[in-house]
Symmetry: C2
Subunit: 252 residues, 2 copies
């Protein structure tokens, strides 16, 4: 049974790509078969894993042109494959024909690889448009990166409303996992946000928080995950622990 | 002659809202007549200026329903008015009819208030969709908030390509102002990014950088700008100086 998970938050810069990058590699290192999907036209997950975006065909070929997903799937690490974001991914958002079917393009292409992986993680763009709608049709679980900021907390209530609407329309519910990242334990604001999260979302908050660390901002520039860049760092240990949280569903 | 400026970057969380919030108030405090426009369905500029989004009609009424812009314009500070983001703003992105005219909805509604303000600043969402296309049709200048991170630098080259395409299609050029924010002078990565920016974009980089400070993340929770929240802070002085940079076009 494949766990299909969208990493999403319409609030920008909260760590969606950084979280996806290090979770997919963390899971692969434990021996799970993992597929990472870059659903963001910015293509930052693709480049952070070391692929050059301009030279490859990507996910939009499978979503729009019927190309088999396997032919735009690239092995990037042991037990880890990636479906990159190609240049044409923005065209999915501009699709005006097709009604509801426009929202099921990703779901349909993922049907073709059913059961092939243990985990599929999808890095989403900072929006609520058609690409994110495609992710929400295709998954059962969502990982929600958050930061210890007021505007991120406000963005979270916006996201929760979006998820509720979707659950009503689809008639199913998402398992939600909140990840507190870029955390600065000495900041009062961050502590207040964390308290609020524990108060309202305790059952959804994964136990491990990811501390603010420049190492996490540096590793993508080398096309490396934190496990390759600084394997004995605190950041690598935190992501190792977060991977365990996600596997067993360890929350507050 | 009104200066009409979009604050944009499809990279999320780089400080678009924080920059717009404090620039519009900084300009108004110097006696300029300023209009702020919240073009982001998240409505964070609206709430940061102290308005409760759910109770008001917003920009989409003027863009989609022909409501006069003045009737969705609210005075929020001395010399500063705001056109808030209402709940229906996402509907603009979903508009499928109308071809190119869909991109000119904002430009057309701004024609009705021509010459009424000294500055108009538009806070944009983290995307390249129809809302941002509307901003690019409506303005002559763009303020581009950046952070000292590798992924933000990568996002900038994506944005520059978008701007070039737009300039070709429109047959005009945008005056570009880059603002380096959330700056941590002691981080080597931040210094490297700053060097790169100075190397490639010296004529576009406004002189004042905005340091990382929790005060800037706290002020929106009180519906206050930095000038109201901590008037004698370093952050307030930095924004005071950035306002001068923008007025006179002071770059590296
Ligand atoms: N724990 C951390 N410590 C320090 N920097 C971090 C951390 N997590 C993420 N970053 C940095 O913060 C910035 C935003 O993170 P990231 O790009 O992963 O967010 P995102 O939500 O994917 O952004 P977008 O909304 O643009 O897709 C990046 O420059 C990243 O390197
Ligand atoms: N100089 C700064 N120091 C500390 N925090 C900052 C600074 N500038 C912005 N922030 C915080 O960083 C986060 C991102 O900033 P902001 O929301 O303004 O970015 P944005 O580009 O508007 O995001 P989005 O892409 O979601 O619209 C916010 O929580 C904000 O409070
Ligand atoms: Mg991202
Ligand atoms: Mg914003």
């Amino acid at each position: 049974q494949t766990r299909v998970i969208a990493v999403l938050n319409q609030k920008g810069g909260v760590g969606k790509t950084t979280t996806t990058l290090n979770l997919v590699h963390g899971l692969a290192r434990k021996g799970y078969d993992v597929l990472a999907i870059d659903l963001d036209p910015q293509g930052q997950l693709t480049s952070s894993l070391g692929l050059i975006k301009r030279d490859i065909e990507g996910l939009e070929k499978a979503m729009l042109n019927g190309t088999p997903l396997v032919s735009v799937t690239y092995p990037v690490r042991e037990n880890l494959k990636l479906v990159p974001a190609g240049y044409g991914l923005t065209e999915v958002e501009e699709k005006t024909e097709g009604g509801v079917a426009r929202g099921k393009l990703l779901k349909n292409t993922l049907e073709t690889i059913k059961g092939k992986y243990d985990f599929i993680l999808i890095d989403c763009p900072p929006s609520s448009g058609l690409l994110v709608v495609n992710a929400l049709f295709a998954v059962n679980e969502v990982v929600i990166p958050m930061t210890g900021d007021y505007l991120a907390l406000q963005g979270l209530s916006h996201l929760m409303a979006t998820l509720k609407n979707f659950e009503k329309a689809l008639g199913n519910t998402y398992k939600q996992w909140i990840v507190l990242g870029r955390y600065q334990a000495r900041r009062r604001l961050a502590q207040e946000v964390k308290e609020k999260l524990k108060q309202y979302f305790a059952n959804s908050m994964l136990l491990t928080e990811i501390s603010e660390s420049v190492l996490l901002a540096e590793s993508p520039s080398f096309g490396k995950t934190i496990f390759e860049y600084k394997p004995s760092s605190r950041s690598a240990k935190e992501f190792e622990s977060l991977v365990d949280d996600l596997i067993i569903g360890r929350t507050y």
